[in-house]
Structures are given as structure tokens and as C-alpha cells.
């Protein structure tokens, strides 16, 4: 067990994988699942995945396998769900998660330029994480349903817009310490 735990310490963009595969981690997953006792596993799946992701920043494969076993959901279905929703991630991510919206409205209002600026500033490409593990940058090819704010970005589940390149730069220099999930428009 211990051996495995050390083996799993790989680095993605400088961050340590929060999931070590230890008994503690496994118990943590089980306790999340216990929170949904009495619910139909298929109904509880998405909320449970959210909790898991809050805990680890992504959905570790082993954790998904535990869910699959405990709730008798095929691993393929879990994989399907986790990759279907853009918000779920299958790899560890940086401490800040920045999405640049390139949905139709934002695209025309300058989304790609914002994306270019962000990539230059952070010295990473879409989908990557900075070496210090601070930032993960992703392109949203869907629409946030907030096109009146176009072009917008989503930083740690908070939407900011409309933004100029400079404003985006300042946002990156000074990311607000908002609790995840609050929407300040």
C-alpha cells in the first residue's frame, strides 16, 4: 500500500497529485458515498462527483473505480459522465482554474484574443497547467448563457465580463479569493 502511495506521487505542472491512493483517500471516497445513502446511485452520481472534485480538484480514476464498485455503475459509464461534463476533470489541476469563453457570442466579441493574451501571460497553452501549479487554462467551446457579458472568462466558478486584455491581465495578477461557486457578474 505504502509503496503504491509513493509511486503515485507524480507531478502535473508542478502540483502534487492530491490523490495518493492511501487508505485515507479511499475512506474519504467511501464517506462521501455514505452521504448519499438512500438515494438512487444514478441520481446521486453527479452530486457525489462534485463533492469528490471539490476534495481533490479532479476525479481520480481510482476514486471513480471505487464508486463503480460500491454503486454497481459500470466504470465505462462513470468515464462517460466524467468526460461528458466539461466541469469534471480527469487530471489534477492548478489552484486556479481559468476558462476563456469561446462560445459564439464571446468568440465574436474577442474571446480568442483574450485566450491569446492569457496563454502569453501564463506561458501555457489551453489545457495546460503552469509549472508552479498555480494556473490551469481551458477554452470553453460551450456557452455560459451570459452572452450579455461577452467576452467573459470564468475564474474559479466566478464569471467576469466583459473584459479587455488588460483587465484580464490584472485579474490574473490578483485573483480574488472568492469562495468557489459564487457568481459575481
Amino acid at each position: 500500500m505504502d509503496n503504491n502511495a509513493t509511486k503515485r506521487q507524480f507531478y502535473i505542472g508542478g502540483i502534487e497529485d492530491p490523490w495518493t491512493g492511501s487508505q485515507q483517500d479511499r475512506d474519504r471516497v467511501l464517506s462521501i458515498l455514505r452521504g448519499f445513502e438512500g438515494y438512487d446511485p444514478l441520481e446521486a452520481l453527479i452530486p457525489a462527483l462534485h463533492e469528490l472534485q471539490k476534495e481533490y480538484g479532479y476525479i481520480p480514476e481510482e476514486a471513480a473505480n471505487i464508486i463503480s464498485q460500491e454503486w454497481q455503475i459500470p466504470a465505462t459509464d462513470l468515464f462517460g459522465v466524467v468526460t461528458f461534463y466539461a466541469d469534471f476533470r480527469t487530471e489534477p489541476r492548478g489552484r486556479n482554474m481559468l476558462w476563456i469563453c469561446e462560445g459564439a457570442a464571446c468568440y465574436f466579441m474577442g474571446g480568442p484574443q483574450l485566450g491569446q493574451a492569457a496563454q502569453e501571460k501564463l506561458k501555457i497553452e489551453y489545457g495546460e497547467t503552469t509549472l508552479d501549479g498555480e494556473w490551469t487554462l481551458r477554452r470553453a467551446d460551450f456557452c455560459y448563457g451570459a452572452c450579455h457579458l461577452a467576452p467573459l472568462v470564468d475564474l474559479n466558478h466566478t464569471v467576469f465580463g466583459p473584459l479587455s486584455k488588460d483587465e484580464l491581465g490584472r485579474l490574473i495578477d490578483n485573483p480574488p479569493k472568492e469562495p468557489e461557486g459564487s457568481h459575481k457578474l
Partner: protein
């Protein structure tokens, strides 16, 4: 037409053609039944409708006219459908054009070219443009998902057939859709190797992929579809008896791949890994090229002339009890019949047997005492379509009879059939079992007899059935009442509550105690096990227990029920039917019966009566060889040395013989002991019939020219008989079949025409996801013996009216506290291989199967056998039973 009594029919019109189909049929299937093809990608018969690709759009007129997808629209009375109107063609063309936007159109290098549904639909719908500017083409590299499955994702049209067949029809759920929308792709869970998933490498996903996205690793880049000659035949491995097509490249005469074909056979396109990938052995360079004769202690190549003359000259000296023979469980009925005739009629010996599993011969089955025959009573299709409950005991059918278990899981998951899996260790089906019972190793007999006693105590019995059709109830109870719930629990290690539950589910066909129908019977329950389970000492008690369960509950002679003890190899059942058993003549007639012997003597025009004493079985022959009582043996298509758990001992026994003849495709360890080795053809190189584990007689068709100088087993026998002074009796295997039809009562009236008509088209699936077929419909799947001259179409369910001996006779097994098989008989756990079979003579020479099997390399070299050790010996895996009885033979 179909038997319509239990199905409501609907009339509609498709392209002006009146069509009449069962209610619930989808328009697409109704059209297919009327011979009208509609473009489609995501529809696949027998899957739930999906409606994702929109390529099957038709104009469907009910109250108003609509362009709608035909694959998911059920028919309705008076409906009119147009499949080719200009409006429809335009809609269909649009759907295909949309798919072509992303498709790489790399047809020149695609395996699927020539049989690709995208090509066909583009052609059919007259696509004229492919707008390359719409957006950049998708581009993915070839990727290997496992040793058996490759994927080229840019060709994928996202129809989802692969994901859905794997889930719905195979039960593996090994493939997933990843991502969403235009970025979707097919993958194993979390991008892992498919081999680490529940994938069983059945190849169905490859088979159903309409385009060249999922690819067969062994076929990839080896042939062009249009140069392949397709020959329909039956699988040569297990007793399921799947229909398949061998695809042979005309120019090279080599098999390039095997596919299952839709609507054909009991498997309906499904195969297992062995069936799908197990053909490479046929064209291996280590096949025997020419006869071998021992000269100065060495086997050297010789001519047929020389080899046969030698055999013909030597054999007559050993006529009578000093001659013994082993038939082939993979040989055709014609060959085994002729072999039996040769051994009994010419060599005048009853020492004939075949390997019934684990290198052991056939034992007199307990089922024969009860019913008069040990043949499985109900067929695969009947059971998975009709059984309310299936009780599986002590067998890993997923390894021994894979395709049946794929079907069984659909019965459980779709139809809600109850499944009781009783096994000392978890087997794949345990996962979906309604009740998963783990009992102590070797406690099968106690478990079954204990359950029977429980059912009797709880009065869950079929009184009328017992009164009318069963003898010996009183005596049975005298013996069986010793089985109390607690006693059974103590002997088997199964908790009393679980026993109670199992008894109730089985006895009530899964319907609960209030489920009795008007006829006083509960819904049907079927029992299945591998007959290899009963090959050990005391094995008959398992048969008695199973028989008691079925008889008490009236689960005999009706659809969805029966005691089904499945023989393992593709033609074990046939070998038994043909009388390759020391105690039975062809047609299961006892050797001791003077009347049967006389009939056979007459049919074979023999001057002298046939030997009257039952002969020695496989183990007995080897003992007799050791002690010098048997001095010559003839082994056809069997490898007793490698099949044994103690190869050295068997080889020693054979070493004692004066004269040994072996007929095989390869030089096996058995062949190395021989004085003469005769090169035989594989199943792909000959005509004949196999009888599957459910008594189904099916045609095997020659697809290849003979390898080297090899000739089919039956031809070798004919030549040999000629040299021994008999006239040439047969020039084609059909002539032997005709003789079988005349001589073997249960095969009466069988001929090539009947078999070909029956096996070819599966007519019972008019497009509903699920329904219960009638027995008449099941009958059309192919011929299950017994047949009669008047009705050669067979009998799907045995004993509907009577038993061979009039009534069935219950046999009680007295309870004996603490009984378990002798200590030390069971040791270790055997890894069960989904990929290898028997001694691995065939499967061990198929590179794909070898690579799929973990540790296969060590396990399956042609030289393998002695050193590997018993725990890895695939022979023990053949029983599919996860423990082996490691006693010497």
C-alpha cells in the same frame, strides 16, 4: 407464416408493398423483413432503439405525413411508409453528407472498404458533394485498445453500436463514449487497455461497427473484402455451436478472418474470442504435412501408401479385446460414426471412448438412470427466452460456453429472469446473479439434494406432474429426508436462509410462492452445469440431485426448464450419440441390449454378432495398456497425454503398446508415442456435421483445400478399410450422414437439405427488443435431435410427453453428515481461460488468443504440457470448474 396465435399482427404498406408484422416491430425491421433496405448506422437488431444518427429517415404516413426515423418508430395499423421518395432521399442524403464532413474518407487503406456502410449509404443516397472546407477533417492515429481490438477514431460515425452491443448483448460494458458533441470518441474506461477491463475479446464491437473505426487486429491490413470467399460453417471449439462464416482469400486460399453473421444460427452474429480469433492454427507451418511412420525408433515422413498398408497389415492381429480406440470430441459425426463402426464392427472391440473433459472418458451419467438419457433437455435459445429462473451450479460457463452466457445475461438484465449462481468461487455471472451462493468445494451433490428436500418439505412441488410422470417418489423421500436445512447447511457451508431463498426462487421459477399458474405449475426454472463437473467419483449424485429438483417442481418437458448438463467440446454430444462410448451403441442404446446389437449387426451387414460386453473407458484402456491386456490403440483427433493431469503416466501407458496409430492435425505429445501418425484435416477443410451441447445438429462446410497431404478423418478411415479388404463404401461424408439417418434412431430423417434449410436463417426476431418465441419458432433455428422420418425438424424440448423408459425414476442420495470428498482431492485454484480450450492444441497455435491469455506464452507453445504443472494445465480449465480433481488416471 409465423405462428401467430400469441402475437398481435399489424398491417401496413411499405413502398406500396403490403406488409404484416407483429405489433411492436419497428418500421425499419418491418421493411427489412419485406426485403427493403434503409440506410442506417445506429440501429442494430436486438438492441434497444437509439435514434441517434438520423440516417434511416423515411416518410411515414399515419394521420399525417412525417419524415421520421424508421428505426425507432413502431408500426401501426394502416401506416404507409415511403423509403425512397425524393423527399426521403434528400433527407437521407443530408444525413450522410453531414457525416462525411468530418470523415477522413481514407477508403483506399481502410479494412472496411467494400463492406462499409458509410460507403454504401453515400452511394445509395447519391451523394455528390463532400465539402472539404466545412472544417478540418478529424484526424486520429490507429490505436490499439487491446491485443484484439484496434481503433481508428476519425472514421467513427458515433453510432454507438459498439458501446451498446458490448453492454446489452455481451454484458461486458467495456466500451464508453468519452467527451461530448463533436469531440466524442470511443474508448475503454479511463483510456485504459481494454484487456484490463471486463472485455472478453468477443469481437462483436468490431463486427457491428458500420465503418472502419473498430478494427480486428488479426485481420488489419491483410486482405481486401472483395477478394474474400465466404463459407458458412459452425465453430470447432465449444458445445454452444455458434454459426460463423470463414472468409477465405481466393488467391492464397488462406482464412483471413471469421465473422458471425446477423440473423444466423443460435448465436445471431455473436461469437466468443475463440470463435472470432481461433482460426490461425489451421494454417500454421507445424501442421503435419505427410504421414509419419516409426523406423528405427524415429518417426519419419512416408507416403500414404506405406503408412496405410502398415496399419492395415498390423491391426487385424489385435482384433477383439486387445484393441482400444479413442474418438475425437472435435471430429464430425460422420467421422465418429465411421470410427465406431470400424472399432466395433471391424476390430470387434467395445473399448472405445473419447475425452469428455479433463482428459477423462465418459462416465455413465446419473441422469441416464433417472431419465433414460443424459442429453440436455432444453436448448440455449429456449432457456434464455423462456426461463423464469436459471440455476447454474459449479461451472464457469463463461469460459466453457461463452456465447450462451452472453445470451443468459440478456435474459437476466432485460427480461428479469432470476439467476442463481452456485459456485465455490466467484465466476463472472456471480456479479449479476439474483442469488450468489458460495458453497464448500465439492459440495454440489449435497447442495442440490438438500435443496430438493427443502422444496419437498415446503410443498412447492408439482403434484400432478409427479403423480403422472414420476416413479420412485416414496423411495426417494426415504433417502432424501435425511437432508435437513441445518444438515445441508453444515455440509455445504451455505447459510440456512440462503438455502431457503434458493429453494423458493428455483421452485417458483422466480415468481414467489404466489406465482402458481392455472395449471398448478410455477414459471419454468432451468438447471445448467458443465457435464465435466460430474466426471469425478460421486459425480452421479450431482445428476440425481439436479434431476430431483427438476422433477419435483415439474420442470421437465416444458419450455424454459430442464436439467441441462452441457458437454464441453463442439462435438462431444455427437461423439456420444455416435456411440463412441464403451457402454453405448449409436443412438444411446446400451451395449448389453441384444436387440440393439442385433439391429446394428444387420444395419452394418456383419457376419458375426457384435461384442456383447461393455468395453473399457479411457482410464481403463490406459490401465489395460499398462498391464498388457490392450496391445494396440487407435487415437483419432484426441490428445490424451496432454489432456491428462499426469501426462507422464499416460505416455508411459501408451509406451507399453505394441502398436499405436494417431490421427491428428499436429504432432502432439500423444502422436510422438505412435508407430504411425496420419495427418488429418482441420474442420475448415472438410464437410460434415457437429452436434452441439444442446443436441443441435449443424452443417460444417469445407472452406479450404487440404493442407499438405492431410485428408479428413473419415477419408482416412475409408482408405484404411479399403486396404483391409472392404469395398469403398463412401465417397462423400453425406453418404455417411445418410447411413446415420437410417441407423441412429434419434437422427432419423436427417439429411443435408434439412440441415441447410434449418440452420441458415434465424426467423424469429421481427425487431422487438424482447419477446418469447414459440417452440415452433425455435424449431426453425435448426434441428435438435430426436428427429423422425416424418418430422426431421427436431425436438427443442425433450420429454414433453413421455420419457424413454415411460416414466422418470427419482434416485435418492442418502444424507451423510460431514461428507465431503476425500481430503486432498481438491487442491489449489485453476486459472480459467476464456481463450484456450482443452489441451490448447488448436487455441495454443492462435497468436491472438495466446497474447490475450495472460501468461499465454508459457502456457501454449506446442511443446507445452509436461513442465507447466497441473495448476496451470488448461485441461482442468476445460471443465470451466475452478478447481480440479488432481488424481492420477
Amino acid at each position: 407464416m409465423t405462428q401467430e396465435s400469441n402475437v398481435e399482427m399489424v398491417n401496413l404498406e411499405i413502398d406500396g408493398k403490403p406488409v404484416r408484422v407483429p405489433k411492436g416491430t419497428f418500421v425499419f425491421r418491418a421493411a427489412a423483413m419485406a426485403g427493403i433496405n434503409i440506410p442506417n448506422f445506429c440501429q442494430y437488431p436486438d438492441l434497444r432503439p437509439f435514434g441517434a444518427c438520423r440516417s434511416c429517415m423515411c416518410e411515414i404516413v399515419t394521420r399525417r405525413s412525417n419524415i421520421d426515423i424508421s428505426c425507432s418508430t413502431p408500426v401501426s395499423e394502416g401506416m404507409k411508409v415511403f423509403t425512397r421518395s425524393p423527399k426521403v432521399l434528400e433527407a437521407q442524403r443530408f444525413a450522410v453528407e453531414a457525416l462525411l464532413v468530418d470523415h477522413p474518407i481514407d477508403c483506399p487503406i481502410c479494412d472496411k472498404s467494400g463492406e462499409c456502410e458509410l460507403q454504401n449509404h453515400a452511394y445509395y443516397t447519391n451523394v455528390r458533394t463532400n465539402n472539404p472546407l466545412a472544417r478540418p477533417k478529424n484526424s486520429w492515429e490507429y490505436e490499439t485498445l487491446s491485443e484484439s481490438v484496434m481503433i481508428k477514431r476519425d472514421r467513427c460515425v458515433l453510432c454507438g453500436r459498439c458501446v451498446r452491443v458490448c453492454d446489452e448483448l455481451v454484458g461486458s460494458t467495456a466500451l464508453a463514449w468519452a467527451n461530448r458533441g463533436n469531440d466524442s470518441y470511443i474508448d475503454a474506461a479511463f483510456g485504459k487497455d481494454l484487456k484490463d477491463s471486463p472485455c472478453v475479446s468477443c469481437g462483436l464491437c468490431i463486427e457491428v461497427c458500420p465503418v472502419g473505426a473498430l478494427l480486428n487486429t488479426s485481420y488489419h491490413d491483410t486482405a481486401r473484402a472483395w477478394f474474400l470467399k465466404k463459407v458458412k460453417t459452425v465453430c470447432t471449439f465449444c458445445g454452444v455451436g455458434c454459426s460463423m462464416e470463414l472468409h477465405v482469400e481466393e488467391e492464397t486460399g488462406r482464412i483471413k478472418r471469421i465473422v458471425g453473421t446477423q440473423d444466423t444460427g443460435i448465436n445471431n452474429e455473436q461469437l466468443c474470442a475463440r470463435g472470432f480469433f481461433g482460426f490461425e492454427f489451421v494454417q500454421r507451418d507445424d501442421r503435419l504435412q505427410a504421414p509419419l511412420v516409426r523406423k528405427d525408433g524415429e518417426l519419419v515422413e512416408s507416403s500414404w501408401q506405406e503408412a496405410l498398408s502398415l496399419v492395415a497389415e498390423r491391426l487385424p492381429r489385435y482384433q477383439g479385446d486387445s484393441f482400444a480406440a479413442i474418438a475425437g470430441a472435435h471430429s464430425t459425426n460422420e467421422e465418429n460414426y465411421l470410427f465406431g463402426k470400424f472399432v466395433r464392427g471391424v476390430m470387434r472391440s467395445n473399448h472405445i471412448d473419447f475425452d469428455a473433459g479433463m482428459g477423462r472418458g465418459v462416465r455413465p451419467a446419473g441422469l441416464r438412470d433417472v431419465f433414460g438419457s443424459d442429453a440436455p433437455m432444453n436448448g440455449f435459445v429456449d432457456v434464455y427466452e423462456n426461463a423464469g429462473c436459471v440455476l447454474l451450479i459449479g461451472s464457469n460457463l463463461s469460459a466453457t460456453h461463452p456465447v450462451f452466457t452472453y445470451k443468459l445475461q440478456t435474459a437476466v438484465r432485460r427480461r428479469g429472469s432470476k439467476l442463481i449462481v452456485a459456485s465455490p468461487q466467484a465466476v463472472p455471472l456471480s456479479q449479476i446473479a439474483t442469488l450468489d451462493i458460495r458453497y464448500r468445494e465439492g459440495a454440489e451433490a449435497d447442495l442440490l439434494n438438500g435443496l430438493a428436500a427443502l422444496i419437498a418439505r415446503r410443498e412447492l412441488v408439482a403434484h400432478d406432474f409427479l403423480a403422472q410422470r414420476v416413479d420412485g417418489l416414496h423411495e426417494w423421500w426415504q433417502a432424501a429426508q435425511g437432508y435437513t436445512a441445518h444438515g445441508t447447511s453444515a455440509n455445504t457451508g451455505v447459510p440456512v436462509e440462503v438455502l431457503e431463498q434458493a429453494a423458493e426462487i428455483y421452485a417458483t421459477g422466480g415468481s414467489g410462492v404466489d406465482g402458481r399458474g392455472a395449471d398448478g405449475l410455477f414459471p419454468p426454472s432451468a438447471i445448467f452445469y458443465s457435464s465435466a463437473l460430474t466426471l469425478r467419483d460421486g459425480g452421479e449424485n450431482i445428476d440425481y440431485g439436479a434431476a430431483a429438483l427438476a422433477l419435483l417442481t415439474g420442470n421437465v418437458g416444458r419450455p424454459g426448464a430442464g436439467v441441462n448438463s452441457l458437454k464441453t467440446a463442439n462435438n462431444s454430444q455427437g461423439a456420444l450419440d455416435m456411440g463412441c462410448v464403451p457402454f453405448l451403441l449409436p443412438g444411446e442404446r446400451p451395449v448389453e441390449d441384444p436387440e440393439s446389437r442385433r439391429a446394428l449387426q444387420q444395419a452394418w451387414s456383419l457376419p458375426d454378432p457384435l461384442p456383447a460386453r461393455p468395453g473399457l473407458g479411457l482410464e481403463g484402456m490406459l490401465d489395460a495398456a499398462r498391464s498388457g491386456r490392450v496391445r494396440a490403440m487407435y487415437i483419432m483427433g484426441s490428445n490424451p497425454v496432454e489432456a491428462s493431469s499426469n501426462p507422464q503416466r499416460v505416455a508411459d501407458a501408451l509406451g507399453h503398446l505394441d502398436f499405436l496409430v494417431v490421427q491428428d492435425m499436429f504432432l502432439t505429445q500423444t502422436g510422438r508415442q505412435a508407430d504411425v501418425v496420419l495427418p488429418a484435416c482441420s474442420w475448415a477443410e472438410k464437410d460434415g456435421t457437429f452436434t452441439s451441447a444442446e443436441r443441435r445438429i449443424q452443417r460444417v462446410n469445407k472452406a479450404l483445400t487440404n493442407y499438405g497431404q492431410s485428408i479428413p478423418d473419415w477419408t482416412i478411415l475409408v482408405h484404411l478399410l479399403e486396404r483391409m479388404g472392404f469395398e469403398r463404401l463412401y465417397t462423400h461424408s453425406d453418404q455417411i450422414l445418410a447411413e446415420i439417418a437410417a441407423v441412429v434412431p434419434s437422427y432419423a430423417g436427417i439429411n443435408r437439405r434439412v440441415l441447410e434449410r434449418a440452420g441458415n436463417v434465424m426467423t424469429m426476431r421481427p425487431g422487438r427488443v424482447y419477446r418469447n418465441p414459440s417452440l415452433d419458432e425455435i424449431k426453425r433455428l435448426g434441428v435438435q435431435w430426436p428427429t423422425t422420418d416424418a418430422d426431421p425438424h427436431g425436438t427443442p424440448v425433450l420429454y414433453a410427453d413421455s420419457f424413454p423408459n415411460g416414466k422418470a425414476r427419482l434416485v435418492g442420495v442418502p444424507f451423510q453428515a460431514g461428507r465431503l470428498l476425500a481430503d486432498g482431492v481438491y487442491r489449489g485454484t485453476i486459472r480459467i481461460s476464456l481463450y484456450h480450450q482443452g489441451t490448447g492444441t488448436m487455441t495454443g497455435r492462435c497468436p491472438t488468443l495466446v497474447s490475450l491469455d495472460e501468461g499465454g506464452a508459457a502456457d501454449s507453445s506446442p511443446e507445452r504440457g509436461r513442465g507447466v504443472g497441473m495448476l496451470r494445465s488448461p485441461n482442468l480449465q476445460q471443465s470451466g470448474y475452478s478447481t480440479g480433481q488432481l488424481t492420477d488416471i
